[in-house]
């Protein structure tokens, strides 16, 4: 998985948990909470959906790594690829 594919996977989740948001121009280097109406429960949704859809665990200590699309890609892409290598 590439970083861009990882960002798309995250955006697909956000599209479901924040269905009123326009996601066409999300800036990858800006904190998601600074450009979208997302609260702490929504972030827990992102964590839950990563677990349910992709089998990826994000420990609480790493929640800040999900701050922006860029940081998500940096943190999650290796996890996606590690899972793919296992299967």
């Amino acid at each position: 998985m590439t970083n861009e594919e990882c960002k798309k996977a995250v955006l697909d989740i956000i599209a479901d948990i924040a269905p009123d948001e326009d996601l066409t121009n999300v800036k990858p280097d800006v904190r998601l909470r600074d450009q979208l109406q997302l609260d702490s429960m929504d972030f827990l949704d992102i964590v839950m959906e990563l677990r349910k859809r992709h089998g990826i665990e994000v420990p609480e200590a790493d929640y800040l790594r999900l701050a922006s699309l860029d940081s998500c890609a940096e943190y999650l892409t290796p996890k996606f690829n590690a899972l793919a290598a296992k299967s």
């Binding site: 948990i17 269905p19 009123d20 109406q37 429960m41 827990l44 949704d45 839950m48 677990r51 349910k52």
Partner: protein, 458 residues
């Protein structure tokens, strides 16, 4: 307009104090326990409590999403029962509501919240709009939301268990929304969030008597001066839990019929059980003085009520206690049985329950009430559980204006044990006079409620 009889000393003292406060504070005279004006006592009911009136109605029923639509369906024989796929059970008969949730909620609110919360928001917003009250300017801490529920939390709990069953029942997949979705106050809480209401907002658990209890409790809170505007009634999301269907089926009390519209048939010999429905109906209630001061449309006045408990069985009704509840409401309203123009029955189309309610009604109304009509709204919409009392009252309220009594439909062969005088069967009837409506709602664990609403006469 004038008070009826001498004010009790305590009340007279409050009136005097309120009058004094009025001099100091002008129009907004306050007494110790709320914004009760002297005029509220001068517009008092027979017990010298402030008179309470209905000024707005918001509803969603399986056969209508406004009072006008709902009433039209009741007068033209339109039932609202359809087939619904129920988890683990397959296709069952149910009353399903088809309101536009996105009129008053965004998509995220619908996703995060519950169906009962969504129905509450719809009904509350529609009722407030209907009331014409200046809501934006209204002090939000002086509004109370009181919503009757039969049950709450089963839908979300079943959904979560189903969801984790796909993950070998590992609870790390359990939703973090579970608790806010399943707390008993959820429906009222979601309405308070949506409306920005900061006054008391909570639910009242009273099984299928809950819709009436919402109005009764709101009347009490208004009379105590706890709030100045009450949004109240009942809601139900029960069709989204398989448990309620399975429970009634295990009891042998779940309706079956090849034709959905014919399935709910109280008083008919071929009745075979309950059609479970969702729905909601919330009213705005105000003290008469406030309603008159703003020139509100008044649908009717809370005349009286009775609430009691059978204390005899988990599920079996008790006609002696039901009759006591009806008598209690009549005494509270200062009315005799012959004063009642419409009795809206609770009957759910179970074999025993219908007969026992008829026994209770017969005991109170006997043969000496020639102008009393008796009907049943569940024959159109099934059993809307916590919403039932509130919705069924709404279905009859327009009778004050159109002098028409909606019928009980689907009665092909009247059960002789249910053959009450005045029963309106299969087609609406015109009434010479409709000044009072008595609404029965009874629930499991023996909770009984009777609410009487009368035509408003200044």
């Amino acid at each position: 307009m004038a008070g009826r009889g001498k004010l009790p000393d305590a009340v007279a003292s409050d009136v005097s104090r309120a009058a004094d406060d009025k001099n100091v504070h002008g129009k907004e005279g306050f007494i110790a326990f709320g914004r009760l004006l002297a005029s509220d006592f001068l517009l008092a009911h027979p017990l010298n409590l402030p008179r309470i009136v209905i000024t707005g109605v918001g509803l969603t029923a399986p056969n209508g999403n406004s009072l006008a639509e709902f009433r039209r369906s009741l007068l033209t024989g339109v039932a609202g029962i359809e087939w619904l796929d129920v988890r683990y059970m397959g296709r069952l008969l149910a009353g399903v509501c088809h309101y536009d949730a996105l009129r008053h909620q965004n998509k995220k609110e619908v996703r995060v919240g519950t169906r009962a919360g969504s129905i509450s928001i719809w009904c509350a917003r529609e009722a407030i709009a209907d009331s014409g009250v200046a809501f934006e300017a209204f002090p939000k801490d002086r509004i109370g939301i009181y919503i009757g529920c039969t049950e709450h939390g089963n839908v979300e709990t079943e959904n979560e268990i189903f969801a984790i069953s796909k993950f070998n029942y590992d609870t790390k997949y359990w939703s973090h929304y579970h608790n806010p979705r399943t707390v008993a106050n959820n429906p009222a809480g979601e309405a308070s969030l949506n409306l920005g209401v900061t006054g008391p907002a909570y639910t009242i658990g009273a099984a299928c008597a809950a819709g009436n209890l919402g109005l009764i409790h709101a009347s009490q809170m208004l009379r105590l001066g706890e709030v100045d505007l009450a949004v109240c009634g009942g809601v139900s999301e029960s069709i989204h839990t398989f448990g309620i269907f399975a429970g009634f089926k295990s009891q042998g009390a779940l309706a079956t019929n090849d034709v959905p519209a014919r399935a709910s048939r109280p008083f008919d010999l071929a009745r075979n059980g309950i059609v479970v429905s969702e729905g909601g109906c919330l009213y705005t209630l105000e003290r008469l003085g406030d309603a008159l001061a703003r020139g509100a449309r008044i649908y009717g006045e809370i005349a009286g009520y009775g609430v009691n408990s059978d204390a005899s069985d988990y599920v079996l009704p008790n006609p002696v206690r039901q009759a006591e509840c009806v008598r209690k409401s009549l005494a509270n309203a200062g009315l005799a049985p012959a004063d009642i123009d419409i009795v809206n029955t609770h009957a759910t189309a179970t074999l025993l329950g219908d007969i026992q309610e008829c026994e209770a009604i017969r005991a109170v109304f006997g043969e000496g009430c020639p102008r009393t009509h008796i009907n049943n709204t569940k024959s159109f919409i099934g059993h809307c559980m916590g919403a039932a009392g509130a919705l069924e009252l709404a279905g009859n309220l327009p009778s004050f204006d159109d002098l028409t009594v909606h019928p009980t439909i689907n009665v092909d062969n009247l059960d002789p044990a249910c053959a009450l005088p005045g029963l309106v069967l299969n087609a609406p009837v015109k009434a010479a006079r409709v000044d009072t409506i008595l609404n029965n709602s009874f629930g499991m664990l023996g909770i009984n409620s009777t609410l009487i609403v009368k035509r408003f006469v200044a």
